[in-house]
Amino acid sequence: MINWLSNPKRFERFAVPASKFCGWLALLLILPGLYFGLFASPEAEGFGHGVRILYVHAPSAWVAMAAYSAIAVMSFISFIWRHPLADRVAYNCAMPGAIFTALALATGSLWGSQSWMTWWVWDGRNTSFLVLLFIYLGYIAIWAAMDNKRLAARIAGIIAMVGAINLPIIKFSVDWWDDVLHQKATIMTIDGPGFAPSMMLPLMLMLFGFSFFLIWVVMRGVLRDIRKQRDATARNAITPAQATLTKMKS
């Protein structure tokens, strides 16, 4: 716990202004992103206004994957260097990451309802993203179900790393399963015909906006954890001092 106190001060000095910056930047990117996405961008060939879903779907998926990468990297750092702040960063990435995964799945389903005329397809991308959601939930469950949070941090970290190694294999196997067994036709991709610069703008705005928003959420969470830990330590420190004082008085 002594390690915890020394680095967090430096982290706080950096993160309090940094989080404010990220928060405002996120807002400045997302609001225009929403505007351009909904109002000031064109329809797509063959998919019409439905392409607008992409401007919330792709950024959600991106953030979902970025958050898990962060969990994996932070777990590794924590494993090698026993850095307690790395644990808190990983922990704070989990819930937002899971929520964005769910959002990606929901918006993807809405997309699919119009492009494939079905609300859910067990294709490679959908299926592996659903598996990612469960990997997130398993990670969160370890943190939640253990009372000993220090132990929870370390075990969750190991499981996160095992999951990280497996994710490419899972993705590969599900894509293979989809291609070989289902003979799916190619889905419209971003590089397809008719992806104009006017479409790239809302996409990029939302992509970066969501990313900075995630960073803001995670930093706020870690700052809150640091504050809570400091309050807890302070409370524990007061009591013995008071005891000594009362002893001295009598």
Partner: protein
């Protein structure tokens, strides 16, 4: 001392979990057959998938109690003090669990596959796929079991942690089971063998790390 240690683990393993796993496997298959109406024509196409699911669930359910039984509080510290590495302990445990829990399941899978309407070639393919894929199933079940050692209700979390990791094993296992009649062991067999090897190689160090952590902070 080493042999004695292994014997001790072996007898503990045989104590109860293997029978539990076997009973669940048989019962699950039975209930599936009942749910499907018992018609071979309906069951044969999905026999391999159902047996794979039955196998996975049986192993996952047996893993938790198996760990709890052999890791009472303080055991990790004793093991550490005795000088044995956690990795060797994990590997030994894996072998004994495979022999006592998984082998009976694989043996039972052949008659069950036949009861589900599969011809001998296809039934053999199913059994072979379970045989080759079983190290992967056991590996992830043991990792999840170790991770949930200090949890009160580890069962659900074991399933939540291990099932996503078992997706590739399931996919390649079933592709072997279903293509065996036509192409034999082939590429599908090699792919499954690769998955099993990788899984074991990843799981043993992970289990050792978890045991280490439990000893230090648990």
């Amino acid at each position: 001392m080493t042999i004695f240690g292994r014997e001790m683990i072996l007898t503990r393993r045989l104590a109860g979990s293997w029978l539990f796993g076997l009973m669940f496997f048989a019962l699950f298959a039975t209930v599936c057959a009942i749910a499907l109406g018992g018609q071979r024509a309906a069951m044969a196409p999905i026999a391999a998938p159902l047996l794979w699911l039955a196998m996975i669930l049986s192993v996952l359910l047996a893993a938790g109690p198996a760990w709890q039984a052999s890791m009472p509080n303080g055991f990790a510290e004793q093991l550490y003090l005795s000088g044995k590495s956690f990795a060797v302990f994990a590997a030994t445990k894996a072998i004994t669990m495979w022999l006592s829990i998984i082998l009976p399941l694989i043996a039972l899978s052949y008659p069950l596959a036949a009861m589900f309407g599969l011809e001998s070639e296809a039934a053999l393919g199913t059994t072979l796929s379970l045989f080759i894929g079983s190290p992967a199933i056991l590996a992830y079940a043991m990792v999840a079991g170790a991770a949930t050692l200090r949890l009160a209700q580890g069962g659900v979390v074991i399933i939540l942690i291990s099932l996503p990791l078992l997706v590739p094993t399931l996919i390649f296992g079933l592709s072997l089971a279903q293509s065996f009649e036509a192409t034999g062991f082939g590429k599908d067999g090699l792919a499954l063998l690769g998955i099993s090897s990788l899984s074991v190689a990843a799981a043993i160090p992970a289990i050792a790390a978890i045991l280490q952590v439990i000893m230090e902070d648990g």
